[in-house]
Symmetry: C2
Subunit: 538 residues, 2 copies
Amino acid sequence: MTVNGSAHGNGHVASSSRSPLQLEPSSTEAARVLPQVLELVQGFIASGEEPESYVAPWGSIPNFRKAISLSLPDTVPQNNDDALLEAVKLVFDNSVNPWTGRFLDKLYAAPTPVGIAADLVLSAVNANAHVMSASPVLSLAEERCVEGLCEVFGFTEKKADGLTMPGGSSANTLAVQTALANIFPRFRAQGLLGVMQQLIEEKRAPRPLLFTSSQCHYSLDKAAISAGLGLDSVIKVDCDATGRMDPNALDAALTAAKESGAGTPFLINATSGTTVLGSFDPLPELAAIARRHHCWLHIDASWGGPIVFSHIATYSDLMKGSSMADSITINPHKLLNVPLQCSFLLVRDADTLSANSLDAGYLFHSSDRRENAAMKTMGCGRRGDALKFWLYWVRYGKHGFGHHVDAGLHLASELVDYIRSKPDQIELGPLADPLFLQICFRPLQPANGVSDVSQNGNVVAKQLSGAEVKRRSAATQFVYQELKTRRMFAVDFAPLPNGIGDYIRLVVHPRTRMEDLKMLVDQVAEIGQLYWQQQQQA
Amino acid sequence: MTVNGSAHGNGHVASSSRSPLQLEPSSTEAARVLPQVLELVQGFIASGEEPESYVAPWGSIPNFRKAISLSLPDTVPQNNDDALLEAVKLVFDNSVNPWTGRFLDKLYAAPTPVGIAADLVLSAVNANAHVMSASPVLSLAEERCVEGLCEVFGFTEKKADGLTMPGGSSANTLAVQTALANIFPRFRAQGLLGVMQQLIEEKRAPRPLLFTSSQCHYSLDKAAISAGLGLDSVIKVDCDATGRMDPNALDAALTAAKESGAGTPFLINATSGTTVLGSFDPLPELAAIARRHHCWLHIDASWGGPIVFSHIATYSDLMKGSSMADSITINPHKLLNVPLQCSFLLVRDADTLSANSLDAGYLFHSSDRRENAAMKTMGCGRRGDALKFWLYWVRYGKHGFGHHVDAGLHLASELVDYIRSKPDQIELGPLADPLFLQICFRPLQPANGVSDVSQNGNVVAKQLSGAEVKRRSAATQFVYQELKTRRMFAVDFAPLPNGIGDYIRLVVHPRTRMEDLKMLVDQVAEIGQLYWQQQQQA
């Protein structure tokens, strides 16, 4: 039998059976190409460390789009490394440089060289972590990291389990799906229609409801859409002024939902480290309420989870009560500087993950989930992301993670002091209590006098008129745009709760230099003054 | 304000604000550590190229577990690279080595050094591809690759779109969710309960149904569970002897579901490259049926999609009709040897992805999905996997992809000829028509005489008695276990459709050497003879 196809299109039929992806031994190609790429990597890191380097290569996306176009060639010269190396240079020349330490825009920062080493290893091993026979060490690393994390979060009473997921949103979504399947036995086969029938038979309201705070990550909304619950099934519970879910409001909302027949509560999501303010929901109170209302308790600790490693009791205590949760999401790719993505979903009771298993004769040759991680999740193929976290653990140790987190807390605290030292130029936004790693602030018009800083460090911005909120938000936007144009700092802005308007939001990363943070505050003050002057002249 | 926590636990409170993750400049650490890791990477690749190297380090997982344990230290000496480098060595020493070219077990193989270079770059840039401002080049690479793929698949009439997903299963799941949200306007807000109400109002059966072949990937089942449809909503359609969905059976199943009131069909999944046999469902026929029944047509081309690049018309024609699909999944991390994970979901009509958008004031500052890829999906944070595919495209070109695929087809064809040359020792299983890259075969008892090879190359194993199927499956299992013990080849086994029992399934990768493939066949024959001899003696 021969493959006897006629040529078509351009008429280039392979004259030999050689793949153009292997015209020379891979070892030869690797020895030639990879050191050159590594040199470019090292150049990128080193240039990031120069104090004058731009953090962002482009001040505006439209300008970037006008200047850069990426080719998709039909044919390329074989065995010529130039195009590849040019492309790699183009990536580095036009990417945000997190090694500056001035990328304070998001909840992640530069990895450490250990992270790059880990990605190198993962790429060379290229093993799929769906079954252990294909990826023995990567699967074992996943198992060990899950064990270590479960211990830290107090999942020790039952046999706990967990797995890596391709991000916090995926992990939260799998938690919602796992909860549905465990609470409602018909979910797996009959779906939500079966769940509804069961609830009707039990004379309960037919809509399963998910409760979470108004400050939660939007992935909870997406999880509800994904699972076929719909956005209407997500009940947003009020927060206090520091962004923590109010347990009384939660209890009232649960009771109201049941009494009104709006639906049947099945899951409460607690956020440990909210996206904007960095607040931690009170876990013991939420756990007690979850138990009383027979709800699955999930903790979205994607961002704040590593606080569990802190050596400062006030902070590590923020995770007290985690052992009473049914599931926890934590993303070492955020606060612990593991490269993207590295996210875990942990479950207190390993058996709950059996709801996600399906047989596949061509893949699974036993029903042991320890040897078949893909049985724990809705996906199949999986990158061995746990290896990255394991190599960090080997390199820095559990205590090292704690010192790392604490270094960030010290920086944040010092930065707040610095901002407070400029009460006529900068208005400090609401802060988490205790202070975490996000700081929201905005320029203040000097004529406004000293900013309204209350005792606990939060502005009383709620008392501002709508017009004043608009004015200050406009100043914030101006500063944000000017910072983008200057390209020395990357920060974000966010509308804060309670209608107090937009604030610059920066994320203090534990490896950021204090000088840089202060310089940023100075620039916000300076650009703000410029803005108000322009406004007065206009 | 100061972080005044008391020490707890071990009492190690950070005495300075320095994170142990940055005790020296990253450039210094990178310059010291990364070249050493790269040397280990090169050693791994080179050792894989040695003809005598084991492909798998362990013949059995229990033995592996007994021998290897991974530490999770509390404290580690600072600035000491030894533990890290030891850990990396442990990974390489105990991992499957795909660079041997004898890993024929799964639908992926070793990447090329270009893939390792790409992972290196991604790790150093560490940019989140959720918004373009954080990852300008990675986002642009994603956009360009999506454009290139959409063009290849004929998504040119409307404005098409797409994005990378963390795997084919995720991509298929997002396709199902996107279809639900577009076909049933209430899905997003009210979930499946709203969908059911709408269907009842329209006097249609209230259960949305998904149709796919009995040979489809199990991720379609998982997608149905994930989306709250439940397994009962998945209707499996019969295939012909070569593993292709039978269009008449599909049409009949659709009509029957509607007439019986079992449910309302909303999606048809076509598989381009099935997991076991490598068969391609007939797209033009399925597209016509989908249109007639008002169903979303999704193509799971995770594995077989790259056939579209083939220069052999018989093969590239297998994707004819793709332009009529609503969505397509393709995984360059499989046949195109891009490192795990690299998977795309493409949609014919860009607007259909708007169903997956949610506002998040702290993340999105415009509603332009081109600048906010996270708006297209249910996730949020995303690794910039498209960069890997773009660098492959730059290096090999579109025509190179075609020559690569064709090289694999030539190998597969030659291998089938070789197996056919041993009709008294090896029974060839059913083959895809035209032959793709999977070959199923098993040892044959010499007493059985010449294997029953029919004209089109498929066994007439259906005629075997149940006892004979069991005997041959047992021989297959024996060979599989012995191959595992020998560790020179990694292959899988799979139960084939129509109750013909287990077969060794190997995946021909385009960069596998013909000598190795022949050696594997020889070993299967040899071990088989050994087995039958043992059986006779017992």
